[in-house]
C-alpha cells in the first residue's frame, strides 16, 4: 500500500470505496507475531509465538484468560489488545452478575466488534490495531472467532493471524478436516506444529510459545511452560503424522487425571 491523499483520516472514503486508515490498522495485525486458533467438537486451543524486546526481557504476553470459558490470543498492538481483553473480562463478569450464567461467546464477539466499529466512524479515535482470536465454550459447543480492527468478526474452524501466518494456515488447511474428531492432546499438537511453521528463525520452546485450552469440563487455562516444552520435544521424537496412540506421552498434561509416570518425559531418555 502506498500513501495517498485519502488516507489521513479514518472518516475519509477513497474513490474506490476504501477506508485506508482501517486497512492500515489491519496491517498492524499482520506485523504482530503469529497466533493460531483451532477447534474440535469438544475443545478449542490457542497457540502463539512470543516476541521479546531484547535478550534480557520477558516474552510478550499474547494469550489472555477472559473468563472460565473464554480466552483470547492477540496479534498487533499489544496495548490495544490488553485494553480490549480487560473490556471483555468486564463484559463477562457483568453478564455473570446479572444472569448467573456464562456469557455466550458469540455475543461477546459481537459486542467487541461493535466497539471496534465505533472507532472506524469517529474522527477523534483511531481504530484498534489488534486482531483477536477469541476461543470459547458455551452451550452450543466450542467456538473460535476472529475480531478485526475493521469491526468485522468471523467464525472459524481454525485460523492463524500475524507474521507468516500463511505458512501456519497452509498446515491447517491440510489438516483441518480431522480436527472435529481430534482429542484434546492431538488438537494441541496440531496447534503447536502449525505455529512452528510460522517461525522464521530459531526454535520453539516453552518460553516463546504459549498454549491455552478450553473444553468440555475444562476451564480456560494457559499451559505451564514446562508442559509446553514437553509437547514441543515430543514433536521432534515423532514425525509430523501423529500415530493414533499419541496420547500416552501427553498423559501428564493439564486436566487429565491419570498421574502414573508411564508417559516418560522425552527429555529423560
Amino acid at each position: 500500500m502506498f500513501r495517498n491523499q485519502y488516507d489521513t483520516d479514518v472518516t475519509t472514503w477513497s474513490p474506490a470505496g476504501r477506508l485506508f486508515q482501517v486497512e492500515y490498522a489491519m496491517e498492524a495485525v499482520k506485523q504482530g507475531s503469529a497466533a493460531v486458533g483451532l477447534t474440535s467438537k469438544t475443545h478449542a486451543v490457542l497457540v502463539s509465538v512470543g516476541k521479546t524486546n531484547s535478550e534480557f526481557s520477558s516474552y510478550q504476553k499474547k494469550i489472555f484468560k477472559v473468563d472460565d470459558h473464554i480466552g483470547v490470543a492477540i496479534a498487533g498492538l499489544t496495548a490495544d489488545g490488553r485494553v480490549l481483553s480487560l473490556h471483555m473480562r468486564s463484559e463477562c463478569i457483568h453478564y455473570k452478575f446479572l444472569y448467573d450464567s456464562p456469557l455466550p461467546v458469540g455475543r461477546l464477539v459481537v459486542q467487541l466488534a461493535d466497539k471496534a466499529q465505533v472507532c472506524t466512524q469517529r474522527s477523534w479515535t483511531r481504530p484498534y490495531g489488534v486482531g483477536l482470536l477469541v476461543a470459547g465454550l458455551d452451550e452450543t459447543g466450542p467456538h473460535l472467532y476472529l475480531n478485526c480492527p475493521s469491526g468485522n468478526y468471523f467464525e472459524y474452524q481454525a485460523y492463524a493471524i500475524g507474521a507468516r501466518s500463511q505458512a501456519a494456515k497452509t498446515y491447517l488447511e491440510r489438516k483441518f478436516e480431522t480436527f472435529p474428531e481430534c482429542s484434546r492432546d492431538e488438537l494441541i499438537r496440531h496447534g503447536v506444529i502449525s505455529v512452528r511453521e510460522a517461525l522464521a528463525e530459531g526454535k520453539l520452546n516453552g518460553s516463546n510459545c504459549s498454549v491455552a485450552v478450553v473444553g468440555a469440563g475444562e476451564a480456560f487455562s494457559i499451559l505451564d511452560p514446562k508442559m509446553v516444552q514437553q509437547i514441543i520435544d515430543s514433536l521432534d521424537d515423532k514425525n509430523e503424522e501423529p500415530p493414533a496412540d499419541v496420547a500416552p506421552v501427553e498423559g501428564e498434561q493439564g486436566a487429565v487425571q491419570d498421574d502414573t509416570d508411564q508417559g516418560v518425559a522425552p527429555m529423560e531418555t
Binding site: F97, L98, Y99, D100, S101, P104, G106, R107, V110, D138, E139, T140
Partner: protein, 262 residues
C-alpha cells in the same frame, strides 16, 4: 422594642417549618429531619398465594385469580401467572401493579434476547437471577416491588423452580409457595410431593392445597388457574373452580356446644 423584635423572630421560626434536607438539600418538613428518606410503600391491590411444584416433565404452577383491595375481594379475574419467553413461567403474590411492571421488564429483556437471533436464549436460571438483582436493588433504595415471585421453567431437560421476594431473599426448591401457601400448602408438599410425579398427580396435589387455601385464606377466591411448563413450552389453563364441601356436622348445628344468646 426588643421584646417586639423577639416576638417577630418567634413568628418567623414558626413559619420556617420547611428547611433544606441535610442530605439532599431539597425542601423538607422540619419534623422529618431526623428520619431517613423513605419511599417504602403500602400495597393496594394484592394477590394471595402462588404454588409451584416440579413434576416428571417440568414444572406446575397454581394460583387463583383474585385481586384484593385490603379486606375487599375486589377483582376476580386477575391473571397472576404469565409465560416469559420460551422456557419460563412467572407467578406473583403481592402488589398487582408491581407484578405488571415486572412482566414489562421481563418482556423487554426477552425481546432483546431474541433480537440477538443467535441460537442462545435466557433460561429460567438466568431470569431468576435477573429478577433477584432487580428486587434486591429496589429494596436497597427503600422502594421495593412489593411481590413474592415464583419462577419455574425447563431448559435443555433441566427443570428449574425458584422464588424471589421483595427483600431479595431467593432460593430454588422442588416445591415453593408464596404468602399463606407457605403455611398451608408447603407442609402438604413435604408429606406428599415426590420426584417424577405425573401430570395428573401434580394437578391433584396442587388442587388439594388450593382447596385448603380456599377454606382458610380470606383473600382466596374460587377461580383458579394451573400453568404447566415443559421442554415444549408453557400453557396456562382456562380459569375454573373447585368443589367445596360444607356439609360437616359442625356446620349443621353451630350452636351445639354453646347454646344461649352468648
Amino acid at each position: 422594642m426588643l421584646a417586639a423584635a423577639q416576638k417577630d423572630e418567634k413568628k418567623d421560626q414558626a413559619l420556617k417549618n420547611h428547611v433544606g434536607h441535610p442530605q439532599t438539600g431539597r425542601d423538607c418538613p422540619f419534623t422529618l429531619l431526623n428520619s431517613p428518606i423513605s419511599h417504602t410503600q403500602y400495597p393496594y391491590v394484592t394477590g394471595t398465594s402462588v404454588l409451584g411444584i416440579k413434576y416428571k416433565d417440568g414444572v406446575l404452577l397454581a394460583s387463583d385469580m383474585g385481586g384484593s383491595y385490603g379486606s375487599t375481594l375486589r377483582y376476580k379475574s386477575v391473571q397472576r401467572l404469565k409465560p416469559i419467553g420460551k422456557h419460563t413461567l412467572l407467578g406473583a403474590g403481592g402488589e398487582i401493579s408491581d407484578f405488571q411492571e415486572i412482566v414489562r421488564y421481563l418482556d423487554e429483556l426477552i425481546l432483546y434476547d431474541n433480537m440477538w437471533d443467535d441460537g442462545n436464549s435466557l433460561g429460567p436460571k438466568e431470569v431468576h437471577n435477573y429478577l433477584n438483582r432487580l428486587m434486591y436493588n429496589r429494596r436497597n433504595k427503600f422502594n421495593p416491588l412489593w411481590n413474592t415471585l415464583v419462577l419455574g421453567g425447563v431448559k435443555n431437560g433441566q427443570k428449574y423452580l425458584g422464588t424471589v421476594n421483595m427483600i431479595g431473599v431467593h432460593y430454588e426448591e422442588n416445591h415453593v409457595a408464596t404468602g399463606f401457601g407457605n403455611h398451608l400448602a408447603r407442609p402438604i408438599f413435604r408429606d406428599e410431593w415426590h420426584e417424577d410425579m405425573t401430570f395428573e398427580e401434580g394437578v391433584k396435589l396442587l388442587e388439594k392445597c388450593m382447596l385448603v387455601l380456599l377454606y382458610r385464606d380470606r383473600s382466596a377466591v374460587n377461580k383458579l388457574q394451573i400453568a404447566k411448563i415443559t421442554e415444549e413450552g408453557a400453557t396456562i389453563s382456562e380459569p375454573y373452580a373447585i368443589k367445596t364441601h360444607w356439609e360437616l356436622e359442625a356446620f349443621k348445628n353451630p350452636a351445639t356446644g354453646a347454646v344461649g344468646s352468648w
